[in-house]
């Protein structure tokens, strides 16, 4: 596979995943918080084309399932009635880009459920939660990266451009932030904020914490680039006809940091996605019932869930291609 193909594939995958996350309300058949108390850990429903009588149907269908006896997770299909998959069906309300909606891409008639990825302990659809959770986890990573690189860029530029006292203060603080292992630092900063907060606030808070804690590394890198950039003769020449500091930074210095910022972004986004996942996994992030890939994985801390219901691993498995794609992207960017 050539580098170019790899880059295009990585970009395509990331675009698809992020679009799916944005369109979660429409793509998901159910609301991520809708419970089915009679269907805990219902397994993924196979899409069927051939019914109990051996007749082939062009439109796929599912059977309704019921729990067998007292053993959680043992289900039997009711084959007397097939529930065909319907498209563009009305259902739970959601918002897409601020607009209310209630049409879902697919669904089946009540009382059956279409759990393509199974259900969790509350009988909530894993696929719906995975899609909505992606909204939280992936965008937390993106937004935190923007914040971290923004702050790092600003401080690194100021530090490198003005030097002297400002530089000393900023670089000493950076050292302070780098003296702590990053996860410890992240947790310590998280510890200073309220623990139980509503999910929307928790999301913003996570973005802030993750983004602000890690400014030191980008700041150092940007400073290095700025230090060499400001020594260029054309910067001196521009000073010679009266250019202001702001102009020099905007016109001659910042453009040189663009490549670095892009490569860093591709490296930081997956790291920050994982930071959100880790925090939410440990109960320090976005909390139930709102799904994030982190708090969805938290259920795996129970050994019976860990060992018995493979579909509960979905968010963890979904992370792998996303991270791979970001790494491929960063590699492609850095070898440009």
């Amino acid at each position: 596979m050539s580098a170019r193909v790899g880059r295009v594939a990585a970009l395509a995958l990331l675009a698809a995943v992020h679009l799916a996350a944005l369109g979660a309300g429409f793509l998901a058949p159910y609301a991520p918080t809708a419970q089915n108390r009679t269907l805990p850990y219902a397994p993924p429903a196979p899409l069927r084309f051939v019914d109990a009588e051996g007749v082939f149907h062009l439109r796929p269908f599912v059977y309704a399932v019921t729990e067998q006896g007292s053993v959680t997770g043992a289900y039997a299909e009711d084959r007397r009635r097939a529930y065909p998959v319907r498209f563009l069906v009305p259902g739970a309300p959601y918002r897409f880009a601020g607009l209310p909606g209630h049409v879902h891409l697919f669904g089946v008639d009540e009382p059956a459920r279409i759990f393509l990825l199974g259900a969790d302990g509350f009988g909530r659809d894993q696929l719906s939660r995975l899609l909505h959770g992606a909204q939280i986890s992936l965008f937390a990573g993106l937004m935190a990266t923007v914040l971290s690189l923004g702050v790092g860029w600003l401080l690194g530029t100021v530090s490198g451009f003005y030097g002297r006292g400002v530089d000393a203060v900023i670089m000493r603080s950076a050292e302070l932030f780098l003296a702590l292992p990053w996860l410890y630092l992240l947790f310590a900063v998280r510890a200073m904020l309220p623990l139980s907060i509503p999910p929307a606030r928790a999301f913003l808070l996570l973005v802030l914490v993750i983004g602000l804690v890690d400014w030191a590394r980008p700041a150092r890198l940007v400073r290095g680039v700025v230090l060499t950039a400001r020594e260029r003769s054309y910067v001196l020449a521009a000073r010679g006809f009266g250019a202001s500091d702001l102009y020099l930074i905007r016109r001659h210095i910042s453009p040189q940091t663009a490549g670095l910022l892009l490569t860093q972004a591709a490296l930081l986004v997956p790291q920050y996605i994982l930071a959100e996942v880790t925090l939410s996994f440990l109960g320090l992030g976005v909390s139930e019932p709102v799904p994030s890939w982190g708090n969805m994985l938290a259920d795996l801390q129970h050994y019976h869930v860990l060992a018995s219901y493979w579909w509960m691993w979905a968010p963890g498995l979904a992370l792998v291609p996303v991270i791979l794609a970001y790494y491929a992207l960063s590699e492609a960017l850095s070898t440009r």
Binding site: L176, A179, P181, A188, A191, M192, L195, Y303, A307, L324
Partner: protein
């Protein structure tokens, strides 16, 4: 010296951060109708929580000097004695994992460097890429699944029931047995990056002019590798050792919590959830201390392996 200053800076920074947090251990008590406002107030006064920030920092520093590191409200005792065994356990875990990871990475990376292109190269590239992309959390959970499914290894903790009654040898074995899973997680977590770096450094050294010259003089390939290329690659590797510690400690936090290894991690999380602030500071400082200590060690190693560095004053 520089390290001590940093440690002092981190202590001040984290103290201020943590003390600025809204709510404290006693704030939770207010929710309990049986405890009166006056009682809470009296408790806070008793532990000095009503004093101004600089005074609290001063008191905390004083207790730091005594090795107490402040007072844990949840445990009703100084932080120090709670922290030391945890620090020891984290150290046991991370040192074992680091040693193993390097023992694995250096030979593997060196071998890989001599085998550019070909099936081994492709396989190692793919394998390390896969492992790099595997989130630490998923890796840890996967190993836990393995342990639960097979029953080969204990799934958590550091000792079995009845550990205290075992003879000395059995106790060591017991701990070693419990170490397997968390160490495996850490090793798998850090080895991919390490191997890649070792390969790159050795490959660089093999391509260096003086090494090529040695080869051109007909010195056997093995001797070229061990006498010329590896020593040249030692420097970047020792630097990497210092750099890789931060990642190792971070991952250790996660591993300890998920596999209930009684190190700094679980204590840290517990303290955060209980808003037990001085107990939060303990692991923060301890991990900083470990990181700085590791970097100091790397600097010393670097000075030992590279005579040029020794003469350079700071």
């Amino acid at each position: 010296m520089h390290g001590l200053l940093l440690l002092a800076g981190v202590s001040l920074l984290s103290f201020v951060l943590v003390e600025l947090a809204p709510g404290d251990y006693f704030a939770e008590m207010r929710l309990d109708p049986r405890i009166s406002e006056a009682t809470v107030h009296a408790l806070r006064a008793r532990y000095g929580l009503d004093r101004p920030l600089p005074e609290r920092y001063g008191r905390w520093l004083a207790s730091l000097a005594k090795g107490e590191l402040g007072y844990s409200f949840a445990y009703g005792q100084p932080v120090g004695p709670l922290l030391w065994p945890r620090l020891r356990n984290t150290l046991l875990l991370t040192v074992t994992a680091t040693a193993l990871a390097w023992l694995l990475a250096v030979p593997l990376g060196t071998w890989w460097a001599t085998r550019r292109r070909g099936p081994a190269d492709a396989a190692l590239t793919g394998l390390t890429a896969m492992l790099l992309a595997l989130p630490d959390l998923v890796l840890v959970l996967g190993l836990l699944l393995l342990a639960v499914r097979t029953g080969w290894f204990p799934t958590g903790g550091m000792v079995s029931l009845g550990h205290e009654q075992m003879p000395w040898g059995a106790r060591v074995k017991d701990v070693a047995f419990h170490l397997v899973l968390p160490v495996a997680a850490l090793v798998l977590g850090i080895v991919p990056a390490l191997v890649r770096y070792v390969r790159a450094s050795v490959a660089d050294a093999l391509g260096a002019p003086f090494v090529r010259a040695a080869r051109a003089h007909g010195i056997p390939e093995r001797r070229v590798l061990f006498r010329h290329a590896l020593p040249a690659a030692a420097n970047p590797l020792v630097s990497l050792f210092g750099l890789s510690l931060a990642g190792l400690l971070s991952m250790s936090l996660l591993v300890e919590v998920v596999m209930s290894w009684p190190g700094l991690g679980p204590l840290f999380l517990e303290a955060i959830l209980a808003r037990d602030f001085h107990l939060v500071l303990g692991p923060v400082l301890a991990s900083t201390f470990l990181l700085l200590g590791g970097n100091l060690l790397a600097d010393l190693l670097l000075a030992a392996t590279d005579p040029r560095i020794r003469t350079e004053e700071r």
